[in-house]
Subunit: 199 residues, 2 copies
Amino acid sequence: MEYTKPLARLIEYFQKLPSIGPKTAMRLALYIVKMSEQEVSNFAQALLDAKSRISYCETCFNMSCSNPCEICSDNQRNKTIVCVVAETKDLMAIEKTNEYQGLYHVLQGLISPIDGIGPDDIRIKELLYRVANNDIKEVILALNPSVEGEATSLYLCKLLKPFNIKITRIAFGLPMGSELEYADEMTLTRALEGRVEIE
Amino acid sequence: MEYTKPLARLIEYFQKLPSIGPKTAMRLALYIVKMSEQEVSNFAQALLDAKSRISYCETCFNMSCSNPCEICSDNQRNKTIVCVVAETKDLMAIEKTNEYQGLYHVLQGLISPIDGIGPDDIRIKELLYRVANNDIKEVILALNPSVEGEATSLYLCKLLKPFNIKITRIAFGLPMGSELEYADEMTLTRALEGRVEIE
């Protein structure tokens, strides 16, 4: 039996989304059919709104409806510190800690020669321009501890050195609540390398 | 930091869907913003289409754009057998086996006193009407092996007995590829009870 056509199409669209497999796509599509007409129409409108109204801040390349974005235009924030992240979702993760009060720079990707992504494909030029033309005292590199993240961090470090500013990197080590026994070798190595003196 | 409003709204809508938690909802919403305008508009249209065009077959209560549905109106199918399932997704799972050639009856739920769902809240009356008014020779009960599924099966069995037709139940036992060692007691008990003579 074929699914009835509008259902098959909806399942297909759900399946295009990340982390949605065929079973989940079917479950979601069936759920949509059971929702009220009003709710479905609101959901469809929310999709269209998000796409049409959100674009990128031209300073930090965070997703936003305004330009500059809410963070860049917030005068309470420390404009001398810039935290470099790969994607908007990383920015959001850091914002959730409520600990960081500086600005961001979203690279919109990481250098990855295998995927054909070179330094010119991500927002590196724009970062250098910001550092050159603003009173920035510290750049924090907050990229994933992956091959691509490490490569991008090294590359950025080399480019930022001449500006004579503080360049830092977030700490890699054991996650809180984990057990040393089960940590992988790489994490343990980084945790040992990054050991901090107890005062 | 608050999410920018259209994004927050979209995340909220995604989170209302089953099996979508806050993290997945955020990932999906960010993905939507990165999709092309055309794709987002197609997706929104697919949602609206599915809701507006799909309704229920008035014979078997399967989701369909037509009434009677594709299965009920298919003359290749054996109209003397009716397989009773709880939800459309169960029907779809059985259809995927390509083994079953009879008709279906979707109860649209299971009897569950805890959730306040009684026999009158699901399509039991309609099943009895079908059995009474059609040349049906066998009813297969294919309900989940849960408390609700068992209760509903028992209830249906009692109601169907007077019609003097064959009433069967799908087999419960060890799933294929599983290991006896790891099977739970209930499954093993049912597998033993349902043992079949080797010919």
